[in-house]
């Protein structure tokens, strides 16, 4: 394996032996880089664990694992994807250790194609005053967090990495040690579930705009 490819994997992250010890320069760079993404790590960890204290434990665990694997990161421009890969692996490892249940949670096929836009859209209305725009205007941070936290774990992880943290498909595939096709499939289904959760919440809260309003001409 080329040296440039030696990034931590699920099997190497947290390994006690490090082939080369980081230099002081590396330590300074590591601290600066970690502090730079710390709010993002905390945000991702809170969405993953759904718990503030568990999130901090996860971030600290991931940073420890990252330090002991820091010499395996040859391209520092790839730090962000690398550290989120470690965070995700640490989360999945913790979950596997805490539960005997499989991480994978199947989703009925009929839920895979749900579109919030299709529920809201009224094509005869002008674009600057549409139900879908009103819906987004009323959407609160708490609504989005609740919807994300309602997702089955395997879909929640992918949605968080793609839509919340903005990782590329390849970075997510690396983090999950899964093919890109699997990432795309889970992302599509996760987004569909997320939109369905937002729709149901809006309906329950009474903030949903009535579709096919007969008073609108």
């Amino acid at each position: 394996m080329p040296v440039e490819m030696l990034e931590p994997t699920a099997s190497t992250i947290g390994a006690p032996a490090v082939s080369r010890t980081p230099t002081e320069d590396t330590a300074q760079w590591f601290e600066r880089s970690i502090l730079g993404v710390l709010p993002d790590l905390v945000g991702a960890a809170r969405r993953l664990t759904k718990h503030a204290t568990d999130a901090e434990d996860l971030v600290a665990d991931a940073i420890s694992k990252a330090w002991f694997a820091v010499d395996t990161l040859k391209d520092r421009e790839r730090f962000r994807g690398w550290i989120f890969r470690i965070l995700t692996n640490a989360f999945l490892a913790q979950r596997r250790a805490r539960t005997s249940q499989p991480v994978e949670e199947p989703l009925p096929d009929e839920q895979a194609g749900f579109s919030l836009f299709e529920q809201l859209h009224q094509p005869f209305l002008l674009w600057w005053s549409t139900p879908e725009k009103e819906f987004l205007d009323k959407l609160l941070r708490e609504d989005l967090i609740r919807a994300i936290e309602s997702l089955p774990e395997s879909f929640r992880v992918v949605v968080i990495l793609a839509d919340v943290q903005g990782l590329t498909y390849q970075e997510i595939a690396d983090a999950l040690d899964a093919p890109i096709g699997t990432v795309r499939s889970r992302l599509a289904r996760g987004r569909s579930l997320l939109q369905k959760a937002l729709w149901e919440h809006a309906r329950d809260a009474g903030v949903r705009t009535q579709r096919k309003n007969p008073d609108v001409t």
């Binding site: 010890t21 980081p22 230099t23 002081e24 320069d25 590396t26 330590a27 590591f30 601290e31 970690i34 502090l35 710390l38 709010p39 993002d40 905390v42 945000g43 991702a44 809170r46 969405r47 901090e56 971030v59 600290a60 940073i63 420890s64 330090w67 579109s115 919030l116 836009f117 809201l120 859209h121 094509p123 674009w127 549409t130 879908e132 725009k133 987004l136 959407l139 941070r141 989005l144 967090i145 994300i148 949605v159 793609a162 839509d163 919340v164 943290q165 903005g166 590329t168 498909y169 795309r184 992302l187 599509a188 987004r191 939109q195």
Partner: protein, 89 residues
């Protein structure tokens, strides 16, 4: 060489998410881009999905508790101190 073609709404919507993720390339990218310029319905759908994605992106970071940031700084200091090799050696 990529050859742009006229595509229908069904095909544009099938590729829309990947397009908005910035992961669509070549002719497929061009085809979706051109379709969105000419189809009001798909353009509206695209803008909705783009804005929802942006709203989710706003969740990317949380306020870090000052005590936790201090804990992380101390953790990294411990790592540094325990490293036997330093650049000035």
């Amino acid at each position: 060489m990529t050859i742009a073609q006229t595509i229908q709404c069904e095909e544009a919507l099938r590729l829309l998410a990947v397009y908005l993720d910035g992961e669509l390339h070549g002719a497929d990218h061009t085809n979706v881009e051109n379709h969105l310029k000419t189809c009001r319905s798909c353009f509206s759908r695209g803008e909705f999905e783009r804005r929802l994605k942006a709203e989710l992106g706003e969740l990317s970071h949380d306020v870090v508790r000052p005590g936790f940031e201090q804990h992380i700084r101390q953790l990294i200091t411990q790592f540094t101190a325990s490293s036997p090799k330093r650049s000035d050696e």
